[in-house]
């Protein structure tokens, strides 16, 4: 049995996925990137290999993706996150039409065509408002663990607006709302809505096509998913582990690379 790996090293996390030659996912690992992306890529790969219970030499090919894809030692080839998210999403849901990925420092909307090919894409990589980093900064301002932002938002009763495109401005809006006595729940909801708004525009540019899938770390925030779904007027599906879709796509490319 041969194995294939995909390594996705982004700004916030490094993820690795191991699949076998029958395209069954055997193991994955998600680690924080920290300040050494090369190390993070290696650590994620080693962790996934260990969990898979295999020897690294059994891995026939490795493809890397993500912001630091060209600095991943193990990879024989690299592919953009756009291609990998499309590929991974298509594998999980062959009827996917649009993929929305909100990562650590950019967000993308990808229109997927036949056989998981990328037909069109739009990215926001200039301003942080609407990315994972934005959510992190806001969670800190509200003094809430990042993973609990959506639960907090669910308790919202009043609709507030955070309109700034710039994270720094948005943070000062949050500070102002807090000082006006607005509840953390309402503010958290407003933050999630701001992300949904920013991303919604991106999605409209590439087109909303059934099925719509969301990947990336922010997809774990149910409030953002719900608000984004409302924004684009279409249900959004989130795979079980949205963060590894890019690495999965990379692993699938690895099989093709070897087959070529």
């Amino acid at each position: 049995m041969r194995y294939f790996a995909g390594i996705d090293v982004g700004s916030l996390s490094a993820d690795a996925v191991i699949i076998n030659e029958d395209r069954v996912m055997i193991a994955y690992a998600i680690l924080p990137t920290g300040n050494n992306s090369r190390r993070a890529g290696t650590d994620a790969f080693d962790a996934a290999v260990a969990r898979a219970g295999i020897d690294p030499s059994q891995v026939a090919a490795v493809v890397s993706t993500g912001y630091s894809r060209d600095r991943v030692l193990q990879a024989g080839e690299s592919k953009t996150e756009i291609a990998c998210h499309a590929k991974g999403a298509y594998f999980l849901f062959p009827d996917v039409g649009t993929v929305i990925d909100i990562g650590g420092q950019d967000s993308k909307a990808i229109r997927v065509g036949p056989r998981g090919r990328v037909v069109n894409f739009a990215m926001n990589d200039k301003c942080a408002a609407g990315t994972g980093r934005f959510l992190e900064v806001m969670a800190t301002a509200l003094q809430v663990p990042l993973g609990e932002m959506d639960q907090l938002a669910a308790r919202s009763t009043e609709e507030l607006t955070i309109s700034s495109i710039c994270t720094v401005f948005a943070e000062s809006e949050v500070v102002s709302l807090i000082s006006r006595g607005k509840t953390p729940a309402d503010i958290a909801q407003a933050v999630c809505r701001a992300i949904a708004r920013r991303t919604g525009g991106l999605v409209t540019r590439v087109g909303v096509a059934d099925r719509v899938l969301m990947t990336g770390g922010v997809a774990k925030n149910r409030a953002v998913v719900a608000l984004l779904s409302e924004q684009i007027g279409h249900p959004i599906q989130v795979p079980e582990e949205p963060q590894i879709v890019g690495a999965l796509g990379a692993a699938l490319f690895a099989i093709e690379a070897r087959a070529a």
Partner: protein, 401 residues
């Protein structure tokens, strides 16, 4: 805003204007820039529609964000003028307070307000497949010249030919001269009204002028417009004579330069009133006091005068002139300071502002402040940032009193 009886009349005029524009089956519609010579259209029975005016209304009504998002979803960059984005969005979604502007039969674009507006009109011309007539009014780096006036007059004459051909009837010059006379009456009264604010306390302030400039921009040349500004003038003049100020207490008197922040009018009004700061004069509303009102003893031909007035708008002339003009206003209106709005959407008005502020402060000895904002896009506006700067500015004025 100051409570004025005239406001009802203005609303009536503008409402009727939009209703006519949206329902007419007889009159042709032209979309035109705010600085274009509308008198040619009024005298030809064409209804002028101002996408800029509509965009401002959308922002004042807090509807601009959704409209801009629609334009951005079409691929229009956030780096382009927010008026254009608002209007493209309103056009795409048929949104805004009147549910989209009536489609144009042709477009009239003058570059005196900026050289970017031509791009906006190209987009519209392509979308609607209608003729675009350009009146190119180059920037006056060194004031008015005979060549610039001639250049503009030739284009006016060509506009008459275009209108004649388009409407299938010859352009009526006699009627046009009547319309010019009415435009002059209206702008005379508008200017006189604005200059009533020289009084202490000022019976009218800039926030009022931003509201009341609707008719002078859109319907200049009609009898209604001339009558309206006479009415407004009389009311404000009376208030002035009675010593009624536009705010309860006037401790500071300032100038506002650039367009208003349309989506923050109420909040800024309260901010200034609380701090006893009256915005008694602004360069934006003043601009429509110059159009059709331009007087130069050396120029007598009505077409030359018209050309000169359209060339000589504040944002079309060089910095030397702007500095002199601002200093003059600071003196005439007895100001304690001046505010310059660095407006992301308006480069001709904003580029160079840092230098202008410095020079005007030096020349007049009055404190000035530059605030970073936008005329139509709340998403690039920060209350905290702007108000902190304004607070510091007020402190600076206090120290000079």
């Amino acid at each position: 805003m100051t409570e004025l009886k005239a406001t009802e009349k203005m609303k009536e005029i503008l409402t009727n204007y939009y209703i006519e524009a949206k329902t007419t089956t007889q009159k042709p519609i032209a979309w035109i820039t705010s600085g274009a010579p509308v008198e040619f259209l009024i005298s030809s029975g064409v209804i002028p529609i101002y996408p800029e005016n509509y965009a401002a209304m959308c922002a004042a009504n807090h509807q601009s964000v959704a409209l801009m998002e629609a334009a951005e979803a079409e691929g229009f960059s956030q780096d382009i003028c927010a008026y254009a984005r608002t209007d493209f969005g309103a056009d795409l979604t048929q949104g805004g307070p009147v549910g989209g502007l009536p489609a144009p039969h042709f477009l009239l674009c003058s570059t005196n307000i900026c050289k970017t507006v031509i791009k906006w009109y190209e987009v519209v011309a392509r979308k609607y497949k209608v003729p675009l007539f350009v009146v190119d009014t180059p920037f006056l780096h060194d004031g008015l010249t005979r060549e610039l006036i001639d250049y503009t007059v030739r284009q006016f004459k060509d506009l008459e030919r275009f209108l004649g051909e388009f409407l299938g009837r010859p352009f009526d010059r006699d009627h046009f001269l009547e319309v010019l006379s009415l435009a002059r009456d209206a702008t005379d009264y508008w200017k006189k009204t604005l200059y009533l604010a020289k009084a202490r306390p000022a019976p009218i302030n800039s926030l009022d002028s931003f509201i009341h400039l609707g008719p002078i921009v859109t319907l200049r040349g009609t009898r209604e417009c001339a009558d309206y500004y006479k009415l407004l003038y009389e009311e404000i003049n009376l208030r002035g004579k009675q010593g009624i100020g536009s705010i309860p207490e006037e401790r500071y008197r300032v100038l506002w330069d650039n367009l208003p922040v349309w989506f923050k009018m109420r909040r800024l009004e309260k901010f200034f009133e609380k701090r006893k700061c009256a915005l008694v004069v602004n360069t934006y509303a003043n601009s429509w006091g110059g159009i059709s009102d331009f007087l130069d003893p050396g120029i007598t031909d009505p077409y030359d005068l018209l050309a000169a007035s359209y060339l000589n708008v504040y944002i079309n002339f060089g910095f030397e002139e702007r500095i002199k003009y601002l200093a003059k206003l600071i003196d005439e209106f007895s100001l304690t300071g001046f505010i310059m709005h660095s407006n992301r959407s308006c480069k001709p008005y904003s580029v160079g502002m840092y230098r202008l502020q410095e020079e005007v402060s030096q020349l007049t000895g009055k404190p000035g402040v530059v605030i970073e904002a936008d005329q139509n896009d709340p998403r690039v506006y920060s209350d905290a940032q702007v108000e902190t700067r304004l607070e510091a500015f007020i402190e600076a004025m206090e120290a000079c009193l």
